[in-house]
């Protein structure tokens, strides 16, 4: 079999078209800048009522040209994806084949967008996101990776860890297998890495690793930050001084040094991650118990039910995750992953603590807090049911940003080969494995690098959109 080309049968038509569109975009953008520079002085007109109007026909034309060529560019790019799915299998190029593999993701994305846009007026802040182009792009990128992680088993063409096919070492994208077995996929879509594994499958499987660890670790960091930060801001005093000092101490630690000291096999051997997990994983349980107790302590029946449920489920998860002593043997994390998880939580929580503390200091002076104090509400009720819900806007935005930051941290850990096992398909580890021969075989590290970038970019754009929309209210 021959190697695949990037575009397959679509190439002869769409390649010239996309070149023309790109050229048109560049020319119109330059023209727009030039025109707006040269007409800067005579663009201001005074209307009949003396109002200042800004208009210029020339810029209007160049801007329209720019928008049109941009739209053409996007349409052609979509054409590659859709056309790639529709073409018969033997005419597909690499892009077409990849697009076909991602079919479940496309369907899920279209469904989510259609439903969300249809009901956006009833969906609160989430619905407002669909009024915002930036937010929509960000949401799309994030949702793409989330669905890729969910459907990873359907998308991958080879096993990301075990399928080592001889003769496929460091091969270019679209290389066919030398002797494909029965029912085996015929090509390495994005080439092979240094030990002849499929780069495409590793990228997709990596999404699953990254998207399980990063959001969970961020959530835990938020629990720790909230449980400590709200009382530090609300009660203040010595409690606050000590906690702030500790938080600043952890923040003064260079993250990378901390990782190098904490995430080593020797530390795992000492059981340090288990003890840290034992402390850090208590916070979510404590948070929920305090949350229920402060709200429902006047209704003992409800309170007891909620607290007992939290303690049962939380305790079960806690035993399994932190101490690896799940009585049913269902839940456990390997030591390498646990230390990565714990150290990422540990690095993130002081920053969350500072944000939450700052927000609390601001909100505690509000009237509704004073009203709750006058009503004689308990301290924890005020903290968790009056202050915290009113801090949700900035916290939500920071949560999105922080997942991105956590993804970057995970990549950093992988880049230095810390924590996760060396055959793990996560993106940082793959970059690390490929960076030695980067100048000769760029694809193995380039593909996960672009994946990290697009996910983090999506999260940052999503956070930006959320911030804009939440400020509008």
């Amino acid at each position: 079999m021959e190697s695949l080309t990037w575009t397959g049968a679509l190439g002869p038509w769409l390649n010239p078209a996309i070149q023309i569109a790109a050229l048109a975009l560049v020319i119109s953008a330059i023209a727009n800048i030039l025109v707006s520079v040269f007409t800067a002085d005579d663009r201001v007109h005074y209307g009949p009522d003396g109002a200042v109007l800004q208009s210029s026909n020339a810029t209007r034309y160049t801007r329209t040209a720019m928008m049109l060529s941009l739209a053409a560019l996007i349409l052609i790019a979509l054409g590659y994806l859709v056309g790639g799915i529709l073409l018969p299998a033997e005419q597909k190029g690499i892009i077409g084949r990849i697009s076909t593999r991602f079919l479940p993701v496309w369907i899920a994305l279209v469904l989510v967008f259609a439903i969300s846009i249809a009901f956006k007026r009833r969906l609160g802040l989430y619905g407002h996101l669909f009024d915002n182009v930036i937010g929509m792009i960000g949401f799309g990128l994030v949702a793409f990776w989330v669905f890729s992680a969910i459907f990873a088993d359907m998308i991958i063409t080879f096993d990301p860890v075990q399928d080592v096919i001889s003769g496929m070492k460091n091969k270019a994208p679209g290389t066919p297998l030398p002797s494909p077995g029965e029912g085996q996929y015929g090509y390495y879509l994005l080439g092979g890495d240094a030990i002849a594994r499929d780069v495409f499958s590793r990228m997709v499987a990596g999404a699953r690793v990254v998207l399980t660890i990063a959001p969970a670790a961020t959530l835990f960091a938020f629990m720790v930050g909230i449980v400590l930060g709200v009382p530090a801001g609300y009660i203040g005093g010595r409690f606050d001084t000590v906690l702030s000092f500790v938080a600043n101490l952890v923040l003064a630690f260079p993250v990378i040094l901390l990782f190098f000291l904490l995430v080593t096999p020797e530390i795992v051997q000492m059981g340090v991650p288990t003890y840290m997990a034992g402390i850090l994983f208590l916070f979510p349980i404590a948070f929920l118990v305090i949350l229920w107790n402060s709200r429902f302590h006047t209704q003992p029946m409800t309170r007891n039910l909620l607290v007992a449920g939290t303690l049962l489920i939380g305790g079960w998860l806690y035993l399994g995750l932190a101490w690896d002593m799940d009585p049913f043997g269902l839940i456990s994390i390997p030591g390498g992953v646990l230390i990565v998880f714990v150290s990422v939580v540990f690095v993130n929580s002081p920053t969350v603590f500072r944000i939450v503390r700052g927000l609390t200091l601001d909100i505690r002076t509000r009237d509704y807090v004073a009203a709750a104090q006058t009503r004689g509400e308990g301290r924890w009720y005020i903290m968790l049911w009056e202050i915290l819900p009113n801090a949700r806007g900035p916290l939500l935005v920071d949560f999105c940003l922080r997942i991105g930051y956590t993804t970057i941290l995970l990549g950093t850990l992988g880049f230095f080969g810390l924590g996760l096992p060396p055959e793990s398909p996560d993106w940082g580890t793959s970059i690390n494995a490929g960076r030695g021969l980067l100048q000769f075989f760029p694809f193995p590290p380039l593909v996960p690098a672009v994946a990290i970038m697009s996910l983090v970019l999506g999260l940052n754009l999503l956070a930006d959109g959320l911030r804009e929309e939440s400020l509008k209210d």
């Binding site: 630690f253 040094l257 950093t412 230095f416 970059i431 960076r435 980067l438 983090v456 999260l459």
Partner: protein, 351 residues
């Protein structure tokens, strides 16, 4: 003001003390010491030999006493041979002495002795000095490109909030903050130094930069560091600029008929640059991670490389020195940013 600096200095000293102790604790865990013994005395030695190596080299003493020795508040350990000449000890590593009298009693950080690197077999201060000079050069060029570019982008984006320029530049800054060094480094090398694209403008390794930096070998590392930090400063500058542009005195200037260029350059700019100043100062410590990644990616033997080598070989003294340098940089930049902020903004009074 003086009291403020004094109090900050006290907190700094306490933080540095706590931090070095934590580093000390982590590097001196038993498995780490065993690893050290095996890398120093051969990987095939028995457990008993490991133990005796540790005892001979003073690693078997209680941890607090060794920390005291490192600090220089306790006398350094010394083992004497049978004839009374000093055989080994913390104060004579890397040197040879004949009699006990020549050995200094204290040799810790307080005496200016940073210890001896077990990895590089030279005094730590030598390595740190050399490495810091190289990394300083990298940082200097990174800042020299990053800060002006970020400020220009931020000011251009913030002066007309919501315009096409603003949206383009803001998207660029968001993209730059979502490209960590190991991603942008990989992309830069592929585009500008590999055979795939074929531009080959720069070299993908900065190894030769040790003998003298050139445009060819230093551009990619500098650009990689600068890109990630740039977006953040630009966003802060944009936010601050956009806020200033809505202020009353800008409206007054507009109503007086001052031209837009003059409004931006003479009225808005100075006030808009106060907030980014803090951010820029706080970028220093944050850059350390970037430096470590870039030095690993581009094979540049600087401070970050020393950190990696020290951590991988459990080089205790080197790691302690690295963490002291890091924490001092963090705390001093915090101090400068606080003081500078008070100086730049007359509405803030330090009490």
């Amino acid at each position: 003001m003086f009291l403020f600096i004094l109090r900050r200095a006290g907190v700094m000293a306490l933080t540095a003390l706590c931090m070095t102790f934590i580093v000390f604790l982590l590097t001196n865990l038993q498995p780490n010491l065993e690893k050290l013994a095996k890398t120093q005395a051969g990987s095939r030695i028995t457990d008993a030999e490991v133990q005796s190596w540790l005892e001979r080299n003073g690693y078997a003493e209680p941890i607090l006493s060794r920390y005291g020795q490192w600090l220089g508040v306790l006398p350094g350990a010394l083992t004497l041979a049978e004839d009374g000449t000093p055989e080994s000890g913390r104060c004579i590593r890397g040197t040879t002495v004949d009699s006990v009298d020549e050995v200094p009693r204290f040799c810790g950080v307080l005496q200016g002795d940073w210890g001896y690197s077990t990895k590089f077999k030279v005094p730590v201060s030598e390595i740190i000095g050399e490495r810091l000079a190289r990394t300083g050069l990298l940082m200097f060029w990174a800042f020299a490109t990053m800060v002006p570019l970020a400020l220009i982008i931020g000011v251009l984006a913030g002066m007309r909030e919501g315009s096409a320029t603003d949206r383009t530049l803001s998207t660029f800054s968001i993209a730059s903050t979502s490209t960590p060094e190991y991603v942008s480094g990989v992309i830069f090398v592929v585009v500008f130094a590999s055979s795939m694209v074929g531009l080959r403008w720069f070299t993908g390794s900065a190894k030769s930069a040790v003998d003298g930096i050139t445009f060819e070998n230093f551009t990619l590392p500098v650009a990689t560091i600068a890109l990630y930090g740039m977006g953040y400063i630009a966003r802060m500058t944009r936010a601050s600029m956009a806020e200033v542009m809505t202020a009353q005195y800008i409206r007054t200037a507009r109503l007086k008929g001052v031209s837009f260029r003059n409004i931006v350059l003479r009225h808005a700019l100075r006030n808009a640059l106060i907030a980014p100043f803090t951010v820029i100062m706080l970028q220093f410590p944050w850059l350390l991670t970037g430096v470590v990644i870039v030095e690993a990616l581009f094979v540049y033997p600087g401070f970050g490389n020393a950190l990696v080598e020290g951590a991988q070989n459990n080089d205790i003294d080197l790691l302690l020195a690295v963490s002291v340098v890091a924490v001092v940089v963090v705390l001093i930049t915090q101090l400068i940013s606080d003081i500078g902020y008070a100086f730049l903004n007359p509405r803030i009074r330090v009490t």
